[in-house]
């Protein structure tokens, strides 16, 4: 199958292509130098933007918590449903769409790779079963390792290499992609009804602090040569004054960074950029965070942009979800995953007229605009925590147009409007920066060599948007931009045209990416470990790992570790 995308304005930040008219040739699912123009299917992209397929670094799309969220919220399905068509299958759900719908909706926006950021290792099989059912996109998942008893115990004893071997074993067993830390230490403390507030609080019964966990796993990450950095959901998330914790978290791995390479990814940063002593004195801490990030190169962030809508919050951060339940009085799921992690789900409605919610909306955009380098901050809504992923086109419009921001500013809580820094920010991003923040930067941060760019040899994941950068001024015509990014003119997945004018043309299976971490000597499964499995887990050691045949389209990425 050969494909030629002609005359489009190509934005490919990883190869520094900045809106030049270039043809993209595709053969056998890869980008190639050239194809035979007579044999190839030609797509005329004149007057349109061509970008690599979108990459989402953080979006809860699969797994046990997502499914529990679906069970908790039948009313979320009631208001949004898609009937089946000759090509697509039916589906329901607005903030937590069903598996097929998730894939279709991403593809319609031109996204082709999505990372699910929180997989409780015990529930890995469930996650992969859902991955098998999510069409159109490539996906991967990060196992939650920050509160796993093995990690806590080895780090307490300072056995970094031993810990690294177990982490490698766990990544292989769960077919995961990166190390995810959620409220490090806090989840274990939550098992005892407590939480940890700052980086030097002790985790009960483990004599270890969040700082030691973060630093330890950062070292482990480096020893294992994992492509992505540690993916951190900070302590104290969602509480006023927590920007200090976020800064501390970034600072604590400063010395572990190798030059110019990021060492830590702070996810949904909006939720940890709160200033103030309580909700009344709540303020934006975006400026301080942006200042730090602008001066340091070892951090990457994603936005976690709030969208004013009814959504469902779900994180592994059990104590935070409990706070949210108390704040909102909504229904709540709380879950403790044995020796590994916890979880919580609360439906939540972000309202324009609420001071806190409106300021949260502002903080997300402030971060994205105040951080000068688009390679350091990426577009996300922490789907579905701050809003469903279908709102990405709105975020793009807000980032590209001051006018669009002002329009929303007019409608929000007046006190939040007067406190918002957005009124003083003139910056408007261009398509090149948007391409960086929605695909290239994310692919780079994830270490995905074949994604997020259109160079020779890259996976042929391409999205085309019907907007002409020469004639359209995104600053004024932000509605055109929003419409274009909502319905991609064309999405190409692995060299096949799967979406045209926002309609799904064919249902294709996406691959599941996972890391095949090769340590010099494999983890010895000792009798001690087996004893622990039978004592602490409900699942026996033999039944625990996800084997490769479990994954329908498996795409392992080999990584050679230093241990």
């Amino acid at each position: 199958m050969q494909l030629l995308i002609k005359n489009g304005f190509v934005y490919d930040p990883l190869n520094a292509v900045k809106g030049e008219k270039t043809d993209i040739a595709i053969k056998n699912g890869k980008i190639v130098e050239e194809v035979n123009e007579h044999k190839a299917k030609v797509i005329d992209a004149s007057g349109m933007i061509v970008m690599p397929g979108g990459v989402d670094i953080h979006s809860h799309i699969a797994g046990s918590k997502v499914n529990s969220g679906r069970l908790l919220r039948p009313e979320d399905h009631f208001k949004d449903f898609e009937p089946k068509t000759p090509v697509t299958r039916s589906g329901v759900g607005y903030s937590i769409p069903s598996t097929f719908t998730t894939g279709y909706r991403y593809a319609r926006m031109g996204y082709t790779t999505v990372m699910d950021p929180a997989m409780a290792p015990l529930e890995a099989k469930h996650t992969h079963e859902e991955f098998n059912d999510i069409p159109m996109i490539d996906k991967a998942s990060y196992p939650l390792l920050g509160d796993w008893w093995f990690v806590l115990e080895y780090l307490r004893e300072g056995k970094i290499e031993e810990c690294a071997r177990y982490v490698a074993w766990m990544i292989a067993s769960t077919k995961g992609y990166a190390i995810k830390l959620v409220n490090p230490g806090g989840l274990e403390a939550w098992g005892f009804g407590h939480n940890v507030i700052n980086l030097d609080d002790q985790v009960p019964y483990f004599c270890i602090t969040p700082r030691e966990i973060i630093r330890g796993l950062c070292k482990v990450n480096k020893l294992l040569n994992l492509p992505h950095t540690i993916h951190v959901h900070t302590n104290n998330l969602g509480k006023p004054g927590n920007y200090v914790t976020a800064l501390e978290t970034m600072k604590c791995v400063e010395d572990l960074a190798e030059e110019n390479r990021p060492a830590i990814h702070i996810t949904h940063c909006q939720f940890c950029a709160f200033k103030g002593d309580d909700w009344r004195t709540f303020e934006s801490g975006a400026e301080s965070i942006a200042k730090y990030v602008n001066n340091h190169s070892h951090v990457t962030l994603d936005m976690g942009q709030v969208i004013f809508t009814d959504t469902t919050t779900m994180t592994a951060d059990g104590p935070f979800q409990f706070t949210l339940y108390e704040l909102s009085g909504n229904k709540w799921i709380n879950h403790d995953v044995e020796t590994e992690t916890s979880g919580g789900i609360v439906p939540f409605h972000y309202r324009r007229k609420s001071y806190v919610h409106a300021l949260q909306w502002s903080i997300g955009l402030e971060l994205a605009l105040l951080i000068k380098n688009p390679w350091k901050i990426y577009v996300s809504t922490d789907h579905p925590n701050a809003g469903p992923f279908i709102a990405y086109p709105k975020i793009v419009a807000w980032l590209m147009s001051r006018k669009a921001r002002e329009r929303t500013l007019k409608k929000i809580n007046p006190r939040a409007r007067s406190r918002s820094l957005l009124t003083s920010i003139d910056r408007e991003l261009d398509f090149y920066e948007i391409a960086t923040m929605t695909r290239a930067g994310q692919a780079k941060a994830l270490g995905l060599k074949n994604k997020g760019h259109l160079g020779i040899g890259a996976d042929a994941d391409v999205s085309i948007y019907s907007i002409n950068p020469e004639t359209t001024d995104p600053s004024r015509k932000y509605k055109t931009v929003r419409r274009a990014f909502k319905r991609a003119a064309c999405t190409v997945k692995d060299g096949e045209v799967v979406v045209k004018q926002g309609e799904i043309l064919r249902h294709v299976k996406g691959a599941t990416l996972w890391l095949d971490v090769q340590t010099s000597e494999p983890v010895k499964v000792t009798e001690e470990m087996k004893r622990r499995f039978s004592e602490y887990w409900t699942v026996e050691y033999e039944n625990y790992p996800v084997t490769e045949h479990y994954i329908e389209v498996s795409r392992p990425i080999a990584v050679k570790a230093d241990v």
Binding site: L72, R73, P74, E75, D76, F78, N330
Partner: protein
């Protein structure tokens, strides 16, 4: 006035939100016959399932009215989201009658299945028969209950009538099932006859008036006083002594529960706490 009669006895559920004065408005009989309904999993035209007659109205300014004769026990979502007009039904009706209706009037001379007036915003529903469960209650999982309007039932009602209610009036001149007014926030529910158990569970506001027997009041309610009468709405006052309970304290609620004193001698031991 549009007259509809089912052409056959329906065996499969019919989804008929298009039987709706707002949709019929300004359409001729032929166009109405072309409207899409679902019978089971097959799309059908309204004209295939119903006989349609247009009776010329004497007064042109009268709003669109629909009259249906026949058994509609399998027909769901009649008048869903309607904004104006009138529907009169002589026969039984299926689930979700007048769901999310915004205005207008529905009158039923027959029995109605569950979720009648579910999530309604305004308008009136009058039912001269019995009603199933979840009268005026929201869709499963949702807390957006009835936001306004008025439902009057002259028969008996199933469980969870008026769940999550926020505003409006529900009057039941028969008896009601369990969990009447579950998680109610505001508005008023009047049950003239008996009421099932756990009435007012988890309410945080609003008023529930029980004119008949209430087996027991939840332990999370506290007695406030004895009132001589209870006001249902403008022009309707029930003049008989009532025990007034406040609750649900488990939810820190300030809802009112009136229970007729004479019909409930077993509650007299509460009097010593006044």
């Amino acid at each position: 006035m549009i007259n509809l009669r089912p052409k056959k006895e329906f065996k499969l559920p019919i989804i008929a939100e298009r039987i709706n004065p707002s949709v019929f408005e300004g359409k001729t009989c032929d166009k109405i016959a072309d409207l899409k309904l679902w019978e089971g999993n097959k799309p059908k035209k309204l004209g295939e399932l119903f006989k349609i007659e247009d009776t010329k109205m004497k007064n042109k300014s009268e709003t669109t009215a629909i009259v249906i004769h026949g058994d509609l026990g399998k027909v769901r979502r009649i008048g869903a989201g309607m904004e104006s007009g009138e529907i009169t039904i002589y026969g039984n009706v299926g689930m979700h009658l007048g769901e999310e209706m915004k205005n207008g009037q529905i009158t039923v001379h027959g029995n109605v299945d569950g979720w009648a007036g579910s999530m309604m915003k305004s308008g009136t529903i009058e039912i001269h028969g019995n009603v199933g469960d979840y009268l005026g209650a929201p869709y499963r999982g949702s807390s957006e209950g009835m936001h306004g309007g008025k439902i009057t039932v002259y028969g008996n009602v199933g469980n969870e009538a008026g769940a999550h209610m926020r505003k409006g009036v529900i009057k039941i001149y028969g008896s009601a099932g369990q969990f009447t007014g579950f998680r109610m926030r505001n508005g008023i529910i009047y049950v003239q006859k008996d009421c099932g158990g756990r009435t007012g569970a988890c309410i945080t506001g609003g008023t529930t008036v029980v004119g008949g027997v209430l087996e027991s009041v939840l332990p999370t309610f506290t007695i406030e006083s004895i009132k001589k009468k209870a006001k249902i709405e403008e022009g309707e006052i029930v003049e008989t002594p009532f025990y007034l309970f406040l609750g649900d304290l488990a939810e820190d609620g300030k809802g009112k529960l009136y229970v007729a004193k004479e019909k409930n001698p077993h509650l007299s031991y509460y009097e010593k706490f006044i």
